[in-house]
């Protein structure tokens, strides 16, 4: 299956149930070869920082990051602030999709202000919305 759109996507959500849902839905729509799952924004940032150091960073970095907003300790917006400090390679390669249950327009508007955020999706992730992803 080399026709897959992405080599890797990353899921960041503190809720393991939602991670499972997202993983299953993405698997079913066959858009990627690999899925990295993180239950905390901090560990996800660490993971990306380690990846950037590698020679093959451009290959292994995720193409898309699905990011939840409401998480304990480091929330989605704090992740975005940290992400802005990562290398240009990472910022160019990994495009961020907000995936949240928040239908709060304030969250939507705040997310839109981050240039690395390419799309804002509401949970639950559906087959249709995955197929429409064009980032």
């Amino acid at each position: 299956m080399s026709s897959r759109k992405y080599r890797a996507v990353m899921l960041i959500d503190d809720n393991e149930i939602d991670n499972l849902i997202n993983q299953k839905m993405i698997e079913a729509s066959a858009i990627t070869e690999n899925i990295y799952t993180h239950t905390g924004a901090k560990s996800a940032i660490e993971f990306l920082k380690n990846m950037e150091k590698m020679d093959v960073a451009d290959k292994v970095l995720p193409d898309v990051i699905f990011l939840d907003i409401d998480m304990p300790l480091m929330d989605g917006f704090q992740f975005l602030d940290e992400f802005a400090n990562l290398s240009q390679v990472t910022r160019k390669k990994s495009r961020i999709i907000m995936l949240t249950s928040s239908i709060n327009p304030q969250d939507f508007n705040r997310a839109k202000k981050y240039e690395n955020v390419k799309l804002y999706l509401n949970k639950p992730l559906s087959h249709d919305s995955i197929m429409k992803i064009d980032v």
Binding site: N15, I17, M25, N104
Partner: protein
């Protein structure tokens, strides 16, 4: 004057003729107005009298050798004191009278018609009084308005957050139904897993609803004071948490020392205890063999001091200052709405008590609560 002046009216007269002042005195006495008055005719004396004598009323001639009524009025207005000011003068043109009123003079009375003076005084004083009342009412209204705006803003953010907390588990349930459909043809085990997860998500939804309910109950209902059997109440609250994972692994000690009977609100106490105990259980340290919750209380006739100590995972010092805030989740494994300790704080405050949390990360957490011991209800 029959209305609202029981003490003598303090009149400051700006008048260079004692004779004219005497005429005014007589006009007032005729109408049985009780008063004391000071007469001045120079700027400095006027300013001093304004400060020291603290008059209720100013009667001013217009033209004095070195001073005049309009300058005097300016001084009064600049002093920000709200004193009725009436010009009593020989003769004025209509234009002049109008210009005086526009500048803020309350009335003008001709010396040739002093019989009008008592009525003019009465009228001016009433006018000032009702103005003052209106101003006070305006201020009260403005304060209430600011308060209401604040409440509205809080309500707004509350609704936003609550709707998020309700929507999150609901979105999970919808998502689980979606993936269960995808996997329909597969084995039973997968479906069982999804059912479990749906169950978990709906429980979370239920917990959030209960938190909202506790929060609003606390706000809306009055205190209901009755005798509290604290030891028994602690046991009951603990037993209600049996369903929590790890409950059996935790050793629970309840030690209550009482010098007096304890009167408080049983329902509110049980809300406080339930949230704190469930935190102790949820955030237990699974790596420790001797997991415990120790509840120590001492009851005196004036207050009850309650201390709940656990050796759970503890709270990071960075998060300690915010644990009582609304919608703050301070633990990585926190799965609640972040309302629990906020509700606890609100309830403690309703009981006019205090609450503090101390913790050492990885070692222990201690909650200290002090509650007043209420009087025994009379009925």
């Amino acid at each position: 004057m029959k209305n609202n002046v029981s003490k003598d009216l303090k009149i400051l007269m700006l008048e260079d003729q004692e004779e004219d002042a005497g005429l005014m005195d007589r006009a007032l006495s005729k109408e049985k107005i009780k008063f004391t008055r000071i007469r001045v005719d120079a700027r400095e004396d006027f300013i001093q009298a304004l400060d020291k004598f603290n008059p209720d009323l100013i009667l001013s001639d217009h033209a004095l050798p070195q001073f005049n009524s309009i300058e005097a009025l300016k001084i009064v207005q600049e002093s920000k004191s709200d004193i009725p000011f009436i010009i009593v003068t020989g003769s004025v043109s209509e234009e002049f009278a109008v210009s005086c009123i526009k500048k803020g003079v309350d009335d003008y009375v001709l010396k040739s018609n002093l019989s009008r003076l008592p009525l003019a005084i009465k009228h001016s004083i009433n006018e000032h009084q009702s103005k003052r009342i209106r101003k006070e009412q305006d201020e009260v209204l403005q304060r209430q308005n600011i308060e209401l705006l604040k409440i509205n803003r809080e309500l707004d953010s509350f609704v936003y957050n609550i709707s998020h907390n309700l929507r999150a588990p609901l979105a999970s349930v919808i998502g689980l139904v979606n993936i269960a459909r995808l996997d329909r043809s597969k084995n039973v085990e997968a479906s069982d897993q999804y059912f479990d997860m749906i169950g978990k998500s709906t429980l979370k939804l239920d917990d959030t609803l209960k938190e909202i309910l506790d929060f609003s109950q606390n706000l809306r209902t009055d205190l209901k004071i009755s005798e509290v059997n604290l030891k028994q109440l602690c046991r009951e609250c603990l037993n209600k948490l049996q369903h929590l994972k790890g409950f059996d692994k935790i050793e629970k000690q309840v030690d209550v020392r009482s010098e007096a009977d304890f009167y408080s609100d049983n329902y509110r106490l049980s809300v406080i205890l339930a949230y704190i105990f469930s935190n102790s259980i949820k955030y237990r340290d699974m790596l420790k063999d001797d997991q415990f919750i120790r509840i120590i209380a001492s009851i005196s006739s004036t207050r009850t001091i309650l201390s709940i100590l656990d050796n759970g995972v503890g709270i990071h010092p960075d998060h300690l200052p915010n644990v009582f805030d609304m919608f703050v989740r301070s633990n990585e494994s926190s799965d609640g709405a972040g309302l629990g300790l906020y509700v606890v704080k609100e309830v403690v405050e309703k009981l006019k008590g205090t609450i503090e949390i101390a913790s050492s990360l990885g070692e222990w957490t201690r909650v200290d609560i002090t509650l007043p011991n209420h009087d025994k209800p009379t009925s």
